[in-house]
């Protein structure tokens, strides 16, 4: 009985933290106030303050992550809705996403290997450029730690979103299709929400690129990472 109450409390607590984080993000929109970052910090702070261990927290919170699988499936919906954009820009989007995926995986793995990072961390980081639920599954299949992957993906999302205006300026990427492809390939959903702020069109291209990137990285990450780790 006590267990059930604790589970209910952590379940409701997680949802409350999410709602608070969304309100904060709506009031102060910034890559540093994305709901996933703010709500995780609230919950971690809460767990540390009241000395609750992660296992106890998960008794209720685990009910929430059951929806990750169907949420990934749901990404087919925006891809279908924006199929005309995909069709019109299939060449730049397709090739941009493929190059971005290869560069993202190999630069991350090789750099980390070069400075002597532990293998399980490298494997957890290989798929950092794609949306979190997909990255976590890929990490697990590779032998990484999904929790670490989730954090690395959020870091890639925030860093890419913060740096993108400068990169676009220095390299004079001023076409909305180019910007959308770059931010969708590098910084998944966090970048996409920023792209949506810039313009609806840029956001749409970013969404399509993010979904295609998740698909393409899924296909190559295992083979490419194993090759690079040799």
């Amino acid at each position: 009985m006590i267990n059930l109450i604790v589970a209910l409390l952590t379940f409701i607590g997680t949802i409350c933290a999410y709602i608070i984080a969304r309100i904060i993000n709506q009031r102060y929109p910034s890559p540093f106030t994305v709901p996933i970052l703010v709500s995780s910090i609230i919950l971690i702070f809460f767990l540390l303050t009241f000395n609750i261990n992660f296992e106890t927290f998960m008794t209720g919170a685990q009910w929430i992550d059951k929806l990750l699988g169907p949420a990934v499936v749901a990404l087919a919906y925006p891809l279908y809705i924006y199929r005309k954009v995909l069709h019109r820009y299939i060449l730049p989007i397709g090739i941009g996403v493929i190059i971005g995926a290869i560069v993202g995986i190999s630069s991350g793995v090789l750099l980390a290997k070069w400075i002597g990072i532990d293998n399980f961390l490298i494997l957890s980081m290989a798929s950092k450029s794609v949306t979190t639920p997909v990255a976590m599954e890929l990490s697990e299949a590779l032998g990484g730690v999904p929790t670490l992957t989730a954090v690395f993906v959020i870091l890639a999302g925030i860093i890419g979103t913060v740096c993108s205006p400068y990169i676009f300026k220095w390299f004079s990427f001023n076409h909305y299709v180019v910007k959308g492809i770059a931010i969708g390939s590098a910084s998944h959903a966090i970048g996409t929400s920023k792209a949506m702020e810039n313009s609806q069109q840029e956001g749409v291209v970013s969404t399509v690129s993010m979904v295609l990137s998740a698909l393409f990285v899924s296909v190559i990450v295992q083979g490419l990472t194993r090759l690079l780790m040799l």
Partner: protein, 123 residues
Amino acid sequence: MKKFSQIIVHIAFLFFFYFLGTWISDLLNNVIPGSVIGMVLLFLALMSKVIKTEWIEEGAQFLIRHLSLFFIPVTVGIIEYLELFSGKGILLVGVIGISTILVLISSGGTSFYFIKGRYENND
């Protein structure tokens, strides 16, 4: 209330594709995650009009709008790995930063090359 039950039914459809994808993924030795295969199957089903958007849209929009809620629990798990960021692990932040910037430049640069001169007439 009607909207709520619609969301539930639509999510049930998405679960169906998820399980189908997982089943195929198992047959393929899990080289590609089941959820991603499910996504491709749903896209093909929508394109070929086997599935109507009205059967999934409320559920899909709901899940995508609140996507980050579903991975809060996993992210909070970092609490068990905090010591990683005290040692050499902190260098990983730099690696992730450099790699992410390289993705921005390479994917943007490649598409820039393909956009130039081809799509200039409108937009």
